[in-house]
């Protein structure tokens, strides 16, 4: 048999439909997630003649993604929205969908399945890109929303110790604020050592630590260690982002009222 005929026959043989609810068909095709589960694609059949067929995941994509990765920040949401927009897929309360006329159903189905795969791959960000996302989000926020406090990146409090640098310094009249982003054990330990070094040299500063996830990102001993050293901590980046402007306004006001401490 010609390879093309064989492939056509194989395509046909491996596509099936199962009625999950009246008017809703599940597409059974050899499209699998990495864990072996089939990609969830449904056809919501039109109730009236002339209406489009809705290809939908009925919310399964985001549900599956949430097993290991949450869309819980503005940056992640932006990436998700971009994937959907670039692939012409819409979202309604967590459900992805694409509407197609019967004659365009086949390409639309493939386009939809590809989009689901792209969104599902956002879980890779957790392992490989999230470190950059965390620091990028924090740095963007500091450089934009906290710019009136004149933050200086990579500040070195001890000029001849270039191995010790503060993520962001906020110069204030009484004592500077040294701000650090921490997302893992090694950074937590480095920040702890740095702060102890500055304390030993009586450098006037107040340390502010923003954790990616204090509770889940660090072991108990490291949590205890950094808590004993830091002056102020925020348990997660969203926690910090939601109150940071108010927090810095209060710190600046206190520094203005008490310039020498």
């Amino acid at each position: 048999m010609d390879i093309r005929d064989l492939l056509r026959a194989e395509f046909d043989r491996h596509v099936d439909f199962r009625e999950r609810r009246p008017g809703i068909l599940q597409v059974v095709a050899p499209l699998y997630h990495e864990d072996g589960d089939m990609v969830d694609v449904f056809l919501d059949l039109p109730k009236h003649e002339g209406e489009a067929i809705r290809i939908s995941d009925h919310g399964m994509t985001l549900m599956r993604l949430s097993y290991s990765y949450e869309i819980d920040s503005a940056t992640k949401r932006r990436i998700l929205d971009r994937i959907l927009a670039e692939n012409g897929v819409s979202e309604d309360r967590g459900r992805f969908y694409l509407e197609a006329t019967p004659e365009h159903l086949y390409p639309a189905l493939l386009q939809f399945a590809q989009t689901v795969a792209k969104v599902s791959n956002m879980q890779m960000f957790k392992r490989e890109v999230v470190q950059n996302l965390f620091y990028e989000t924090l740095n963007d926020f500091v450089a934009s929303k906290l710019s009136l406090y004149k933050p200086e990146p990579h500040y070195m409090p001890i000029p001849d110790r270039d191995d010790l640098d503060v993520d962001w310094r906020f110069p204030l009249p009484s004592r500077d604020i040294y701000l650090y982003g921490v997302r893992d054990t090694s950074k937590a330990r480095l920040v702890g050592l740095e702060c102890l070094e500055y304390q030993k040299l009586s450098i006037p500063f107040r340390s502010v630590i923003i954790h990616e996830d204090l509770e889940n990102g660090l072991g108990k001993k490291d949590q205890r260690r950094i808590t004993n050293i830091a002056d102020k901590q925020f348990a997660t980046l969203p926690d910090f982002l939601s109150v940071a402007e108010g927090y810095f306004a209060r710190e600046a006001e206190t520094a203005r009222q008490h310039p020498v401490m």
Partner: protein, 169 residues
């Protein structure tokens, strides 16, 4: 993914645990799925922490997953050890499975050294199960398998005979 032997995986799944961060009283609707989460701490000296997630699709409540994720203390990657799944559709057990024979059953995904060695998602391989036939039964099966202490089990995950599952939007 760091190397885990099947023995280590089995030990992590079955080491005795207690609830360290309790689940919400009710499942909450988030987008198109009802969900809840909890943290479990080992009580036998095992290092690291465990997360429990519970997800149930709103449109197809028979589509659910109750999972156990292990986060090692040394900062290495999380690993999903176990997922008790509903009849959410079809699954292919991966390499070696018969692609012409997809299943449509309650099933359990479990991490394996074989999957990790092959570079697959650790919990890629799954087996159908008769241990549960509903979400509520799957929760009870899960807390038995992960050895949640009986006090926390009955406090946070009462069986159907103890309490009706509640849903809150």
């Amino acid at each position: 993914m760091d190397a885990y032997s099947d023995e280590e995986i089995a030990r992590l799944i079955s080491c005795p645990k207690k609830v360290s961060v309790p689940p919400a009283k009710n499942l909450r609707l988030n987008g198109a799925d009802w969900r809840n989460d909890a943290k479990l701490a080992p009580t036998d000296g095992t290092k690291g922490i465990f997360s429990m997630f519970m997800r149930r699709n709103e449109d197809f409540p028979e589509d659910f997953s109750i999972g156990l994720v292990y986060r090692p203390e040394d900062g290495t990657s999380d690993i999903t050890l176990l997922r008790c799944n509903g009849k959410h559709g079809f699954f292919n057990g991966g390499a070696g499975a018969d692609p012409d024979h997809p299943h449509f059953h309650f099933h359990v995904h479990k991490a394996s050294a074989k999957a990790i060695r092959a570079g697959f998602t650790p919990e890629k391989f799954a087996d159908k199960t008769t241990e549960f036939a509903s979400y509520e039964q799957a929760v009870q099966h899960y807390i038995k398998v992960v050895q949640l202490n009986p006090r926390d089990a009955s406090r946070y995950f009462p069986s159907e005979s103890q309490s009706e599952i509640e849903f809150t939007e």
